[in-house]
Symmetry: D3
Subunit: 285 residues, 6 copies
């Protein structure tokens, strides 16, 4: 039997393991740099989540950062300030052409961040220690967020002279979190701890240690993994569609989608099992 | 004089009473089945709220479930797993045609849920004990929600193999509640108590007993009933329009609407009474 | 040297001071009337915020109400109930023409409220004591809100027979605040204190006294004023665009905008300063 | 065998016949009044099209006006100027309350017009002679329009002092017709003939006589009736959804819808028949 | 008696006359420069149309260019290439700050163009001879367009190295004109004559001479001026709202708007006059 | 010197040539099968247009079908009826899971079609002879369309039992073409010739022979290639953004985009050259 992790071993900066049936655990794996993102990592992460999205052996994904010091230190400043269309613009070209290059670059990085939202499976993102800049863009594209008490979350971009541009500013107004609080924090480049993040709903649980957080996330993931994948992945698709559109459009899309999906074997199994007080098992999707 | 409740007596599963001037109280009245919804009830509830919407004797509505055990047990599983296009699809037809039937069915049930949102009067929904599945769809289409501490709220659909499809997934992203929390709860089919629902803002008050909750709701409703019906019902209409649209569109609609409504006798009465520190009474709408 | 406040001295009802570098403080200055808004004030406030929006000496704005008793008592009832198209409609015209006049009037007042949202600089709004009606429309068009414990916030319009029509009903569904709570409060015309406003996220901090609140706001404003104005003002523009649109549109707009802005000198300075652990200073915008 | 027309015989003002297999022909049948719409007709027409929408014996609908003189003379002026909330407003109520009544009334009439758009089957609307006011609202809610050369189309509302309010102004900007032409015609209340309507694309064919037009429409309808009902009705649903939304949303909805529908027996039959150059027959939907 | 044109005499570059009751005629009046737009003209035109919008003596507006040679030569190239943030950017500032200045500038010019769309009265725009660049932005913001056969319409911006940015690219996809044709013309900077513009629907009538065109436009305008201003101006407002939004939203807005407007004296007069075959006169709006 | 076509030589089914400076010509190159699309071709075409999108040597693209008989015969029926999730669904899975597979498949094919719209350069699509099914999806995603008189355009899907699902139904309502005509044609699966396509605006020119059409397209393309690439590609980006959004949003995006782009060297060169009546040359983008 081929190990399910085989296709995931090609990546340098992301480690994907399978701690339980149908549960994948993705780790940004560059602890020496506090999991800062370089160019290659933006490329890799998209591939990882695209693979997971269609992998029938995966139903739910835990995403965290390797090492004890933090989830993500943001962009790899050394690299990004010396290469690429931002760090080393082609000054032979007029400024608008340089700007054109940066826009293409930003669209590509946005695509990497959006790969978490597009991934068909629920993703829970775990933030411990430093959770800066680029990392927040990925975290806000996940479905669920947990934090440790010692988390130091910061939209660090503001502190180094730019506005975040790969997702955080577009997704934060949609998270059900107080605008007054979010804008207060963003404009001042303020660092936010785990308890405060919980209080305002940016994360939904907070823990004393990273280990406790990972255990709780795996426990949640295992529970989700027992549910019908048709049901869970439909819920993600329908919620995310509805988030950006009027209720009436969400209803139409839901009716078109579920007209088929409620006829799955899972619904029958689910109801029968509920009546018989048994735990059903569901076919792969 | 014909009692105002006359037209409401035709319904089998919904009891409508008028505990105070301009206040209606609708109860799902199938306590023996824990207020589970059968097909007929989806049909009836829409008629009830359509009647209330245009009834000049009603200005605010309390909606709860009869009996001590719960607000709603969800769909009547027995019925829904053996009849209708989901429970007993017409297998003489090819699968897409069966799916077509289910979509029509879903659109019709959605219409029943949406009748609460379309109802011109504010609706406060009271959840005690079991608050499962179908019930949550109706609750999230109401304006205000209260709960008892012992509430057991659950989007139970996920636990029986399907995604909710008659409104909850389209309306929950619009409730001003933390996404991280909501998705954590939904994907895992988790049961939520009253205190937690209050903490995240899904409900706005929590009570020890159903009786206390009903009394508090009636007290709130009586207060609302003393306000100008033009003002209150305009507020509902304008808020709901704005929820789904850019602020600029909300403003345009509001200006068109209120260009007329602020010229009502109610505004004059309201201002005069405020100056004279008297309590005004308003004509029916 | 011309004092930066010169152009701001033309206004009767708004006092604008500059308590720190790049920080403006706007006060509604009609304490004898509890800062109630008359017609002229709607006209003036728009001019004030339009000036501030393009003033290179201003990077962040504190907005409060003068005097000890309150932020704003709402509309100047005396004036508004005896003049203008609402208080003194031209009854020589048929009713629809009177309504047409009111719509134009509402659009103009909305424009005044929207001038806070359109202002390119972040605005923090401070509410103490009475915070009624018109005042809430302005407060919800600001970016950040603080309150004192003794704040008495009320959408007073409902209590005098009309629905708010110059912005509050269109912006409140977008604030990341529980809908159940907001509608409960609005329909009943309920008065809300500072602690409750903090709990639900309508404001992000609460204080014992107005003085403490102003000091804290100035302290926050000074911090924001040290950041790159390109970064901070881009963040406001991108957030506000994203709030009203699908995430995908927010991302597109952000990429077009930031394709240029991340090439500013501020980004280079910001990164260099961060690496050298120095505090950068940024050119005016 | 029960004639398929049985349920359609309850209507006074609409005659529904079945000139060919799967083809329904609806006629406004009040030729003595030039098919002018009274209140009851708005109620009836909605029921007719709702019935047709789910009738498996119907795949395409021809809609025309009975008699030689015209498709529709608009509203029944006599009735509408003396009854109902517009013709006979309840002057015991203040003006805003009268306006509230009219809004409810307009929403109901709009619902009748929209029943053509909501009807799952394609509708071809045939306009001959007088085609005024209310009639245009229905015509623009149909899928396809034919006219006779002698058609006298007019948004007559403008000529009697009001703007059309039950659909024409909301649908005409979506018909792929020159705005300059349409606005020129509307503001001046101009009468348009068949050839001009063809030239600008408001109708897609024009005929010398009503009889030729009906024959051509039936011929088209018979052709459509031979196609897969899954294919044709999906095309209507997907087009109409896409019309009002960004291309990206149309694509998402289409993928969700057709993920199921292309698996129908019809696709298999269709392809096999095409390869064998045979004419397939499709099961009812 | 003060001539109605008094407030319009303050403008240097726009001549406003009143050739018939309720009809205004605005002319760009810089024939020596082929009516090219300088900075001051962008400022003036907005004021002109804002005045007309609320002027009760005006019900319809003809807009043309003075002199025999053309409607508009576009931007005043001499001025715009040597002043302002585009022609003479402040090169002491970094490039992003220069871009920031241009964006503010563009928003201001867009506002001038949009003043035609925002003007409550229908505007017919007459294009003869040269109709280049800036002129097209204004023309596409009008309601109706006529042309002479010798019109030379060109989105000239493309030919001088930029994309149009003050309205044409945002409004042309909404005009009901073939996309294939429009894009073919735009990308190639092609010059379009009057007959071709008529064929594709960009204009709705074409004439041999400017004089014939003006006469026809005045004749149309006089006809429109006899209609109820409530009806005509409502039609413009409702159409324009519907253009940018789903049909369902257009219907809601229309019902809210017309709930009041159909109760105007104009409706009663209009119907009575129609029955009595008399020509009604309507009160000012 | 490396020929610019090098990276384009990897494709089996698409031939890309460079008939003039900055002009690319893409041909579907499977004339033996009348350019029918198989699975691999959907994969290849996306890569071709993605390459062209960022290729600085390309400014405009001509897209046609190889061989004398037609532009495209649609899907490769043989392949698509025997392989893939539609032709050979995995019947070991329940029907909803098969539908899930088809949805993923449709989204991928849609992505291939959308690659033409996403391509930054204008694309002119040339249709001769058979232009069926899949081909129409690509044609409607191009910017400009030409046809030969003998074109036989048909949304053939309807004739083989399904609704088009990879783009045509979502893009056709946006083409500025009469809805009545389009729906008449689509529902009946009617074949449309070149002259008719021109009359309704689906194409913008029609020719007697393929050769004449290609020559005219190249001539247009060469003209476009002389323009500023910043101007032309900005025009495509801004138009396409505006097409799907309210005018107000198009304006905002345009101002943000062009705030930078009008500062390009191209604008200066363009204006200088215009004044000196010289032909400018522009740097690559």
């Amino acid at each position: 039997m081929v190990s399910p992790s085989a296709p995931y071993e090609q990546f340098t900066f992301f480690r994907t393991t399978f701690p339980a049936l149908f549960v994948a655990h993705v780790e940004t794996n560059r602890p020496g740099k506090l999991n800062a993102f370089n160019h290659e990592m933006f490329h890799e992460i998209r591939q990882v989540f695209n693979l997971l999205s269609y992998d029938p052996n995966v139903r739910v994904i835990v995403y965290s950062g390797a090492g004890p010091r933090g989830f993500c230190a943001g962009l790899d400043v050394e690299e990004s300030s010396s290469t690429g269309p931002v760090g080393a613009p082609n000054t032979d070209r007029d400024f608008p052409r340089q700007s054109w290059d940066v826009r293409r670059h930003a669209l590509s990085y946005q695509e990497s961040v959006t790969s978490l939202e597009r991934c068909e499976k629920p993703i829970i993102c775990l933030m411990h220690g430093v959770a800066f800049g680029a990392g927040i863009n990925f975290a806000t594209a996940a479905d669920v967020r947990y934090a440790t008490r010692d988390m130091k979350l910061c939209l660090q971009e503001i502190n180094v002279g730019l506005a975040p541009d790969v997702g955080a500013l577009s997704r934060m107004p949609k998270l059900g979190v107080s605008y007054s609080w979010t804008k207060e924090v963003i404009y001042a480049g303020k660092v936010v701890g785990g308890d405060e993040a919980l209080r305002v709903g940016l994360v939904s649980r907070v823990f004393d240690t990273k280990q406790e957080m990972v255990e709780a996330a795996l426990s949640w993931a295992k529970e989700v993994a027992t549910k019908s994948p048709v049901a869970v992945q439909s819920a993600k698709a329908l919620w995310d569609f509805s988030r950006d559109r009027p209720v009436a459009d969400g209803l139409l899309y839901t009716a078109a989608w579920n007209g088929t999906m409620v006829l799955s074997d899972d619904t029958k199994k689910g109801i029968t099992s509920a009546l018989k007080k048994r735990k059903p098992t569901f076919e792969k999707l």
